[in-house]
């Protein structure tokens, strides 16, 4: 059989039963469209999360007090609850460790904030002038906390945009206003630019004050909650992490690594973990959508089996006129492949439209990647071949005489 003949036969066969072909293709269209959409949502979410993490600063190591190592049955004190980390540790890291750009210790505490009549509860961060550089914070209005503010233990505050909106109203310039944090008055000197995101870990609803002001007036100790370290480049992160561990173990006088009283979070590790989770999620979404693709494939097989039975006499005739088994297999296989192929193309277009729609009506980013298109295309062709093969094989196995006699 010539290729053009196979196409002609397929064309006539598919068009001779438009409704049935259409419904069968619809099964594949829906299957492929949902795979494409689900994967695009999975990919988009992964992208959202990793940009969010990267927006918190690049090549970041964060040292926090407490240990996460579990020894025997007893978990040691939970992260952040101990006050084993002090400002001196940050100074030592800055002085002694090579390959770092900047060190930014922070102290945080939740306090009531009051301005004439209105009050709110928010996180107060005691930070140094290096903080914006390390944690990617930018200023919208006024200035950030300066070295001078720290040296003088000034009572100045920089507001997150959401806090500003809550206290003063949306878009108002609060620079120069006085706010009361706890029992002390602070002068607002700046507002940061919104980073987006909400809920836990929001970097928009908070107030920055000089670190020693926070230690002196709010926490009353020289311990810190975190020390953020920006490393020169990604390759040095593991090495710097090890050096800091050694340095801090020595400073804290710990000889047995099991007694460690701090832990270091490596941003690269977090990104790895997150992309692993996002990959699993994408796979899961894709697999759920894949079930509908499987159902579509079964629809193809069902239709092809019906077609083969209906056309038994035709198959007998073709064989009597000299069609070999491969000719019959090719003819019926091409029918199912064409149906899945057309369904696949339309399904990709529909999936594309659906994921743009999802992006439009919700905050979720969706990303259609070439590989997801190639994958769904491959899968639909594969389904056409797999689910079309059995009916085609069956058609070819007919005995010409028995088939010609079939009523």
């Amino acid at each position: 059989m010539l290729i053009s003949d196979i196409f002609e036969e397929t064309f006539f066969a598919v068009l001779s039963n438009k409704v049935r072909s259409g419904l069968t293709a619809l099964g594949i269209i829906i299957g492929i469209a949902s795979v494409v959409t689900m994967i695009s949502i999975g990919q988009g979410t992964a992208y959202d999360i990793s940009t969010k993490i990267e927006s918190l600063g690049s090549n970041l190591l964060t040292v926090s007090p407490g240990a996460t190592k579990v020894i025997g049955m007893n978990a040691k004190s939970a992260t952040g609850s101990a006050d084993t980390l002090v400002i001196g540790d940050a100074d030592a890291i800055e002085e002694k460790i090579q390959g770092i750009i900047s060190v930014a210790p922070e102290v945080s505490s939740r306090q009531q904030v009051i301005i004439k009549g209105s009050n709110t509860n928010t996180n107060i961060y005691g930070v140094t002038e290096t903080y914006p550089q390390v944690k990617n914070v930018e200023i919208e209005l006024g200035t950030f906390i300066t070295e001078n503010n720290i040296r003088r233990t000034s009572k100045v505050a920089v507001l997150g945009p959401e806090t500003r909106d809550n206290l003063f109203g949306i878009g108002v310039n609060p620079v120069g206003e006085i706010i009361r944090i706890g029992s002390l008055d602070f002068v607002v000197i700046g507002v940061t630019i919104a980073k987006g995101g909400s809920g836990f870990g929001s970097s928009d609803d908070l107030i920055y004050i000089p670190i020693n002001t926070a230690q002196h007036y709010l926490t009353g100790s020289d311990s810190v909650n975190n020390i953020n370290i920006q490393v020169e480049d990604e390759e040095k992160m593991t090495l710097v992490e090890e050096e800091i561990t050694t340095l801090l173990l020595a400073r804290h006088g710990i000889s047995n690594i099991d007694d460690i009283d701090f832990n270091i979070m490596n941003q690269a590790d977090i990104l790895d973990t997150v992309s692993e989770i996002a990959g699993t999620m994408t796979l899961l979404l894709g697999a759920i959508a894949g079930i509908s693709l499987l159902v579509g494939g079964i629809g193809i097989m069902n239709m092809m089996l019906t077609t083969v039975t209906e056309r038994t006499r035709e198959i007998g005739l073709r064989k009597a006129l000299g069609a070999q088994n491969k000719d019959i297999i090719l003819q019926f296989l091409s029918e199912s492949v064409v149906l899945t192929f057309v369904g696949g193309v339309l399904g990709i277009l529909l999936g594309w439209a659906a994921s743009s729609f999802v992006m439009k009506i919700s905050d979720t980013t969706t990303i259609i990647t070439t590989w997801s298109i190639i994958l769904s295309f491959g899968v639909s062709a594969f389904i056409g071949i797999v689910f079309g093969y059995y009916p085609a094989r069956r058609a070819a196995s007919f005995n010409p005489i028995t088939a010609l006699r079939y009523e």
Binding site: M1, A323, N399, L404
Partner: protein
């Protein structure tokens, strides 16, 4: 061209065995016009399937142009059918919802004849079968019985087969159209093709040069034209 040696076909249905053909032996030379006649259920169609390489015998040998076809595989039989044999089926067996031309192309499709050549070959075959050009693009189910029969004959001719097998080709036709079809077969025979015609009507068998009579799967009589009178006498 054709040689059957002790051809036997036994159908098994459950525990019962049907001897459709029993120990049939004969030879047909190239260019002969042979009629196979016999009552219903005598095994004519079974014999035609054997001769047309549509089926293999239970035992015995069948030589077509010197090849022992009896143990060929399905695909090898298909090749023999497409290269050497033209069938006219009793029930026409045209592709429904397909044009006359597409029906006639069908054997050429499996021979992988280039598309440009097909029209030429189809035209020649349709002329031979006596179908008017105006019907070429009609759908096969829009034709009259006689026209369908011509299309079926044209399809049997299109690949220039050496052997034409026709099973009750006039069965559904009035006697006048039947005569025209038989004349067509005679003409094709004069062109040098071997023709085997299956029928259960004597007046049709008389058109052939040789008549093989079968009964209960066995050959009862095999006579040339010269002594056809004798058969008549025996029958009556």
């Amino acid at each position: 061209m054709i040689e059957c040696k002790n051809l036997t076909k036994i159908y098994k249905t459950g525990n019962t065995e049907t001897r459709a053909l029993w120990d049939v032996s004969f030879k047909i030379k190239e260019g002969e016009f042979v009629a196979i006649i016999g009552p219903s259920g005598s095994g004519k169609s079974t014999l035609m399937h054997m001769l047309g390489a549509l089926d293999t015998p239970t035992s015995g040998e069948y030589f077509l142009d010197g090849n022992d076809v009896s143990n060929f595989s399905d695909d090898e039989l298909a090749v023999i059918r497409k290269k050497k044999i033209g069938f006219v089926f009793q029930a026409f067996n045209l592709l429904p919802r397909a044009s006359v031309l597409r029906n006639i192309y069908l054997p050429l499709v499996y021979e992988e004849i280039p598309r440009e050549k097909r029209y030429e070959m189809a035209d020649k075959a349709l002329k031979n079968a006596g179908l008017d050009k105006e019907h070429y693009n009609h759908l096969s189910n829009q034709l009259s019985g006689g026209q369908m029969q011509r299309v079926a004959i044209a399809r049997a001719l299109v690949n220039n087969p050496a052997l034409i097998l026709a099973d009750e080709p006039t069965g559904n036709l009035d006697s006048k159209t039947g005569e025209v079809i038989l004349d067509t077969f005679k003409k094709l025979n004069k062109e040098g093709r071997t023709i085997i015609l299956i029928t259960h009507e004597k007046y049709i068998a008389e058109h052939a040069d040789r008549v093989i009579t079968i009964k209960d799967g066995e050959i009862e009589n095999d006579s040339r034209k010269s002594n056809q009178k004798k058969i008549k006498n025996i029958k009556e």
